[in-house]
């Protein structure tokens, strides 16, 4: 048995465990493993999540694209489909990350009480946050990769920078995985998920996925440009066009910071909810 003083010290978590609380004790991968096993039985739910951006590419990019004609990108004219594709790649990354980090995390947190069971094991709160964000990021990565392959097959990859586009898509996924999970930890009921749609649908429609920012009046351009999806769309579109500018670092840093912020908020909030 510990001495009295050690017991007394234990009532407050020592400062050293802060990093453990934030980033887990290395057991985050157990949560990823859990999700892999869970989706083995429902692989088709995972698989069908890919199609929405793909359908948009065919419909808006190709179908409507004929009525839009060609757009200017980095000083040259490109087909509308090639203009839209990088935007939809960013949307794929966003959607993929949001599926699990919002609805499914809420289900596990509040309905199935999965995390209550998980936390009765040596797995900690930080592990749960990091593990779920990692899995959401992976799901976004799967869709991004598949979408990039489709783009390649349709001849819509403009330059040889596809690998960098993929890395950028990972950052988009990370940002939305963190933000989604952080927000979900504050949700009270399913009706609060209206807010997820109220954020993600306007972002999808207005963040320069479908047309350049220049369509908007100046003040609106500023508003749109601070949305994380716009940051991702712009980054991927520039990379796809072969532009390597310092602005890319700003985009990347912004997205990474949002992801880390979301992750930290989620870990803190989960601790309050699950270990009262």
């Amino acid at each position: 048995m510990s001495s009295r003083s050690a017991l007394a010290a234990g009532f407050r978590p020592p400062l050293g465990s802060l990093s453990a609380a934030l980033f887990g004790r290395g057991r985050a991968r157990r949560l990823v493993e859990r999700n892999v096993v869970a989706y083995k039985r429902r692989w088709w739910i995972l698989a069908t999540g890919f199609f929405e951006p793909f359908f948009y590419l065919l419909s808006i990019g190709l179908g409507l694209g004929h009525l839009v004609g060609r757009l200017e990108l980095d000083g040259r004219l490109v087909d509308y489909a090639a203009y839209v594709a990088p935007g939809l790649l960013a949307s794929s990354a966003m959607n993929g990350a949001l599926f699990d980090s919002t609805f499914n995390v809420f289900f596990k947190l509040k309905i199935a009480k999965t995390y209550d069971a998980v936390l009765a094991t040596p797995v900690g709160v930080g592990d749960v946050a990091l593990g779920e964000v990692t899995w959401s990021l992976m799901r976004g990565a799967i869709y991004s990769f598949a979408f990039l392959c489709v783009m390649g097959a349709m001849g819509l990859v403009l330059t040889g920078f596809a690998v960098l586009c993929f890395v950028a898509a990972l950052l988009v996924s990370f940002a939305f995985a963190g933000l989604g999970m952080g927000a979900t930890c504050y949700m009270r009921g399913w009706q609060d998920f209206d807010y997820v749609s109220m954020a993600s649908i306007p972002m999808f429609l207005f963040s320069a996925v479908f047309y350049p920012l220049s369509v908007y009046p100046g003040w609106l351009q500023v508003v749109v440009s601070i949305t994380p999806l716009y940051q991702g769309v712009d980054m991927i579109r520039e990379l796809d066009a072969g532009l390597l500018t310092p602005a890319l670092l700003v985009h990347a840093g912004y997205l990474a910071a949002l992801g880390i912020l979301g992750l930290a908020v989620a870990a803190r909030r989960l601790g309050k909810l699950l270990r009262p």
């Binding site: 048995m1 510990s2 009295r4 050690a6 017991l7 010290a9 234990g10 009532f11 407050r12 978590p13 020592p14 004790r25 057991r27 157990r30 493993e33 859990r34 096993v37 869970a38 039985r41 429902r42 199935a112 009480k113 999965t114 209550d116 069971a117 998980v118 936390l119 009765a120 094991t121 040596p122 797995v123 900690g124 699950l274 270990r275 009262p276």
Partner: protein, 330 residues
């Protein structure tokens, strides 16, 4: 489930009478343990000690503070005050290390609804970092232990309440814990399912696992527990073996007399001479006495005609009534 040799050795030890010190020391020591949520004190300075290899019970009505105590012991909820050591470690500082060695059966099953029965066990084992092959072996043994081999591939949703409970218990055993904590293990189960569960718990005890059980069923506490504490309103009001508690706080027998509606209280005043103690409940009068039949006879001699009468031995229910003036299940 087969266990290590050291545990097997303990098998031979017949559970001794309560109060006799068991070998291997204490698995839980709590002194002045307190849990408060804001102004509300759920657990109020309780002291208890659980010995290795015994079944230790917390008996009390809903809201007595049992679950809060269990959550602190399983390091799920920080202690608000007092000392708590589990398996020789301080609960505040060594949460993960303690949880690695104990199994928890929470009040709600919290099974993973997106996984099959087998995967529920498998992944839970993985949360303890048990190597894949080892977990797979244990899963098969536990499926048998829990009578769930045929249900292994089913989704959890399709199981009956009793099956879910057995799966939750099996899940708590995947890490081969030294201490298993069961919060209301049989609440909501039909009698058959309860007996099957009790049987599984006996087996665990035989294997030398220490068990802590909370319940509001006095028969469950009497059947399973070597020693127990009675909790009410966040405090421990009595402790000992079931027999000790009954001897200390009740008489040998109880005569239950049922008079007409609203007449029980009026009649009771005439009965005070017939027993050591008389309790009036809404639907009946209880006479605490060494000889129940004699008391019923005496009542008849007084010219009282109860609609029904019953003589039984004292139980923990009576202990609780005596200590708190209330029934366990209200």
């Amino acid at each position: 489930m087969q266990r290590a040799g050291a545990r097997q050795e303990e098998l031979s030890r017949h559970p001794g009478p309560a109060g006799e010190p068991a070998r291997g020391g204490e698995v839980v020591v709590a002194r002045g343990l307190t849990k408060s949520f804001g102004d509300f004190v759920a657990v109020d300075h309780v002291d208890f000690l659980v010995r290795r290899g015994e079944v230790f019970g917390f008996l009390g009505p809903n809201g007595a503070g049992k679950t809060s105590t269990m959550r602190m012991v399983s390091c799920l909820s920080p202690v608000s005050g007092g000392e708590l050591s589990v398996l020789g470690m301080d609960s505040g500082a060594s949460g993960p290390a303690i949880r690695a060695r104990l199994g928890l059966v929470p009040q709600e099953d919290t099974l993973d609804l997106e996984l099959s029965v087998r995967d529920n066990l498998y992944l839970y084992g993985r949360y303890f970092d048990i190597p894949r092959r080892e977990v797979r072996d244990r899963v098969e043994r536990l499926l048998e232990f829990a009578h769930l081999v045929e249900k292994a591939e089913e989704e959890v949703d399709t199981l009956s309440g009793g099956m879910k409970r057995r799966l939750t218990i099996a899940r708590a055993l995947i890490s081969e814990p030294e201490l298993v904590i069961l919060d209301e293990p049989t609440t909501g189960l039909d009698p058959q399912a309860r007996h099957l569960l009790w049987d599984r718990l006996y087996r665990l005890k035989q294997e030398g696992v220490s068990l802590i059980i909370t319940t509001h069923y006095m028969d469950e506490a009497e059947q399973l527990c070597d020693r127990l504490v009675v909790m009410d309103k966040g405090k421990i009001v009595a402790s000992g073996s079931p027999r000790q508690l009954i001897e200390a706080h009740s008489t040998r027998e109880v005569a239950e007399l049922r008079f007409g509606v609203d007449e029980n209280a009026a009649v009771a005043s005439k009965l005070t001479e017939l027993a050591e103690r008389v309790e009036v409940l809404p639907d009946r009068v209880l006479l605490y006495t060494e000889d129940g039949d004699e008391a019923v006879q005496a009542a008849h001699c007084l010219g009282l005609r109860p609609e029904a009468s019953l003589v039984r031995r004292s139980s923990l229910e009576d202990v609780f009534l005596r200590l708190t003036g209330r029934s366990l299940v209200e």
